[in-house]
């Protein structure tokens, strides 16, 4: 019997099911931890304390969360128009170049709050530029966006190697990175936010881009559900034939959507480049673009869900780092296994539990 068509109340769809998936993911991760001879409960405790126990931990958690919100939004916007953008990683990387060029040119002359809007635009423009060619190829030539965006990740990676090693490197230094931005090119830390809750940020790099990320969540929500453009994107995403009937131009929407998606990915660079390290470093994205796919999937492509999912992955990243520090047998790779479990159960196996829950719900409600 088919249960896919039965509609469940929102609190089950968006509350119970993700939670159960998460429990399953932690259960299997626990088995792995137990198999290598550590106590899974202790490990979970260490992970949670590491991520949420102190102000500094929270600062790191929210720092990672910020990056994942940007990339999650990037993936979600594309998905609403039926496009699977796997290129957020590369778009974020190129976005870093945009942000860095703005910071390098302005940091001598103006305070951060003047630099910031230009940096946001610069990062978004470079990210959008990186998405533009795959978008054009999809819109006009029908080359599949999944393939082209993946390939662009490699192209951008090589390009950035060249730019950093040959052009932007500080003369006489070995590290392929730009000079450190002056204060005019940095985003301020959010000490006050953590202080509000009585904690201390310490060395954690949580910065102003967290607030930009939250603002983008709101703007994406408005775009998708309150604008004519968002209506056209959703129509195209659900039913391309209905879109063509309605006179919605495929090529135009694909282009616009991918530019927005790439722009959001590009803005992710603000967080590590201008907020944390105050310079453009090689491979600074570190997989956040791919985590964005899981975040968007788990957050049901809705900004509110994306914030929660990004927070979860932030906790896993920060808590995982602490865990591998405290339990030597749990290496960095083990943390990747746990993250993989979460992606597997919350993302890929999203609908595994659904039929059973539908039946249970029907029995309980007597329908």
């Amino acid at each position: 019997m088919s249960t896919a068509s039965v509609s469940l109340p929102a609190w089950i769809n968006y509350g119970v099911i993700p939670l159960l998936n998460l429990v399953l993911a932690f259960f299997f991760s626990g088995l792995v931890v137990w198999a290598i001879g550590e106590n899974p409960f202790e490990a979970l405790q260490l992970l949670l304390i590491g991520a949420l126990g102190r102000g500094e931990g929270i600062g790191f958690t929210l720092f990672y969360t910020t990056s994942f919100i940007f990339t999650g939004l990037s993936v979600a916007v594309a998905i609403h128009a039926g496009l699977f953008n796997i290129g957020s990683e590369g778009q974020a990387y190129l976005g870093g170049l945009g942000a860095a060029l703005v910071a390098l040119s302005l940091d001598h002359y103006v305070p951060w709050y003047v630099t910031m809007p230009f940096a946001v635009i610069g990062a978004a423009l470079f990210g959008a530029a990186c998405a533009a060619i795959p978008a054009w190829l999809q819109a006009k030539r029908g080359s599949h966006i999944v393939i082209t965006t993946i390939m662009f990740n490699f192209i951008v990676s090589s390009l950035m190697n060249y730019v950093l090693v040959r052009l932007l490197i500080v003369p006489g230094k070995m590290a392929p990175e730009t000079r450190t931005f002056l204060e005019g090119g940095q985003l301020p830390k959010l000490d006050w936010l953590i202080a509000l809750f009585g904690g201390r940020l310490g060395a954690a790099p949580l910065n102003f881009s967290f607030l930009i990320a939250l603002l983008m969540c709101f703007l994406v929500w408005v775009l998708i559900w309150r604008t004519k453009l968002g209506y056209e994107m959703r129509t195209l995403g659900i039913s391309p034939s209905a879109a063509s009937y309605a006179g919605i131009r495929y090529a135009k929407i694909v282009m616009i959507t991918m530019l927005i998606s790439g722009g959001l990915a590009g803005m992710m660079a603000l967080n590590p480049v201008m907020g944390a390290s105050a310079r453009l470093q090689i491979e600074f994205v570190g997989g956040a673009g791919f985590v964005g796919i899981a975040v968007s999937l788990m957050g049901r492509n809705h900004p509110a869900g994306i914030i929660l999912a990004a927070l979860l992955f932030g906790i896993l990243y920060q808590g995982g780092a602490e865990l591998s520090f405290d339990m030597p047998r749990i290496t960095r790779d083990m943390i990747v296994v746990i993250q993989g479990m979460v992606i597997l159960f919350a993302g890929a196996l999203e609908y595994m539990l659904r039929p059973a829950i539908v039946r249970l719900y029907q029995q309980v409600t007597g329908k």
């Binding site: 039965v6 129509t235 034939s241």
Partner: protein
């Protein structure tokens, strides 16, 4: 419900009950079908016919009730048990592998062992026997996609018989057939019945019920409201039972009062995505205040013609004028601005986004209009208010603009489209299959609206595969065959004349 019958029953349904969430799809259904008879089940869309048959074929499980096949209670868990109990189903949309041969399709799922050779030999022999016994001629080595629709349907019947079906369920079998093909199907069904098979025919066409069934049951809102011997009932009685009130079966309309030409098509040629010419050098005019119907068997270029006029498909050559202005190559949004409204053939894929809520669909294509929000924004309050007005005016049920469109019945979905297109007060309206899969009550309603549009001085172009619909609505009828307009008749043309033209025999 049952009629006293001397023959033993093939199927007995006792107290079948099924709910989907809040929807009570089947309420305490009792039905007995005698062996060796043709039993019709009619009812409006959403009356629960398909659910009942899905329960019988194992797609759904009844919440309560018992199914007895040839007197024995059977628990039908899935379609395999249904097949094993001797039930075969011919779906409305064929379940055939298009690039397999007839033989391969018939064998599919019953290959008989790891190697094909033995199975092929048995299947070939069995097919020959079925052909001899029932007059089901199909070339076993023909590839499905090269067969006409009528033959494809015969393959579906063969598939069921090959699996030993004693009971055949046919779901809206004539929807895609020409009148001649339908007659042939009925001949086959009569032979099957005379050889002792039991046949259940689900349809919304009352004429078919009268023509072929022995007994008929009427469903309404999940209930079996009546069972009659076909010989003892009338079309009017059945229609009334289906809808629950008296219905007008014939459209009442006065004479046409044609004015100036609003739509003009000149030497239009349209190719499909493979480059095959689907519309071949077609020219015609539609005037204000008249309904021009395009008759033809599905697949003779009518769909492509409509899509070209609506701006969805680019014509290969030729011209289109709307109210004197060149319109070929303008996109659908631009054509709407010129005053063209389009009710598409396929509401599921074109006219509606089924996952959207009703109000979101009520603006599809017109969403850029300032009345639905200034500038780039959507004004949800205004849209919902507008949607609710249309819901009230067109009696769309349930009256809930926040309901997902997929959860409306076919007739109500079509009303959503019709309301959207007509309420914009266009200059001209092009309509494809206005009442496909729509229940009688809604058909009556939609036909009235179309006539009203004509009487208000709009030009209406109508494409339908339902010849009755074309004949009762149109002031002029163009017949399309193989991409060409092969003739023009007045709205009073006889069915036979048009039928021959549709088959490409007469002009």
């Amino acid at each position: 419900m049952s009629l006293d019958s001397p023959k033993e029953p093939a199927i007995e349904l006792v107290g079948i009950d099924k709910k989907f969430g809040a929807v009570h799809a089947n309420r305490n259904i009792n039905l007995t079908v005698a062996k060796g008879s043709i039993h019709g089940i009619i009812g409006e869309n959403g009356a629960g016919k398909s659910t009942l048959m899905s329960i019988l074929y194992g797609f759904y499980h009844a919440d309560q009730g018992e199914i007895r096949i040839f007197g024995k209670p059977v628990a039908i868990r899935d379609s395999q048990t249904a097949i094993a109990s001797g039930i075969g189903m011919v779906h409305q949309h064929f379940m055939l592998v298009e690039n397999f041969t007839v033989l391969e399709n018939v064998m599919l799922g019953a290959e008989g062992g790891q190697l094909l050779r033995k199975g092929v030999a048995t299947a070939r022999k069995e097919l020959k026997r079925l052909e001899d016994d029932y007059g089901l001629e199909v070339d076993p080595d023909a590839v499905i996609e090269e067969l006409p629709v009528g033959s494809q349907q015969r393959v579906e019947i063969l598939k069921a018989l090959y699996r030993g079906a004693e009971i055949l369920i046919l779901d809206e079998p004539t929807g895609v057939l020409t009148p001649a093909e339908a007659d042939h199907l009925f001949k086959v069904l009569r032979v099957l019945r005379d050889q002792g098979k039991t046949i259940i025919l689900i349809t919304h066409k009352l004429r078919e019920i009268m023509a072929i069934t022995d007994t008929v049951s009427v469903m309404r809102r999940g209930e079996m409201v009546a069972t009659r011997r076909t010989a003892e009932t009338t079309v009017e009685e059945l229609a009334e039972l289906m809808v629950g009130r008296r219905v007008l079966l014939r459209v009442e309309k006065g004479g046409a009062n044609p004015g100036k030409v609003l739509l003009s098509v000149r030497n239009l040629t349209v190719k499909d995505s493979r480059g095959v010419t689907m519309v071949d050098d077609v020219s015609f005019d539609v005037r204000a205040g008249e309904i021009v119907g395009i008759a033809g068997v599905a697949g003779n270029g009518q769909s492509e013609l409509l899509e070209a006029i609506a701006g969805i498909r680019k014509p290969a050559s030729g011209e289109i004028f709307i109210d004197g202005q060149p319109a070929a190559g303008i996109d659908p949004a631009g054509l709407r601005d010129l005053g063209l409204a389009h009710i598409p053939e396929d509401r599921h894929h074109m006219g509606l986004v089924l996952k959207f809520e009703e109000y979101e669909n009520s603006i599809l294509g017109y969403h850029r209009d300032e009345r639905y929000g200034r500038g780039a924004m959507l004004d949800l309050d205004a849209i919902r208010k507008d949607a609710e007005e249309k819901i009230a005016k067109y009696d769309i049920r349930p009256p809930n603009a926040r309901l997902r469109t997929a959860n409306f019945s076919g007739g109500n979905q079509q009303k959503i489209v019709v309301a959207r297109e007509i309420e914009r007060d266009p200059k001209m309206l092009i309509i494809g299959q206005p009442t496909r899969g729509v229940d009688i009550g809604a058909i009556e309603f939609i036909h009235k609206r179309i006539i009203e549009m004509r009487d208000a001085g709009k030009a209406v172009l109508l494409v339908s595969v339902e010849l009755d619909e074309i004949r009762s609505l149109s002031d002029r009828i163009l017949v399309m065959f193989a991409g060409k307009v092969v003739g023009e008749k007045s709205g009073e043309a006889g069915e036979q004349t048009l039928g021959l033209m549709m088959a490409g025999i007469a002009a």
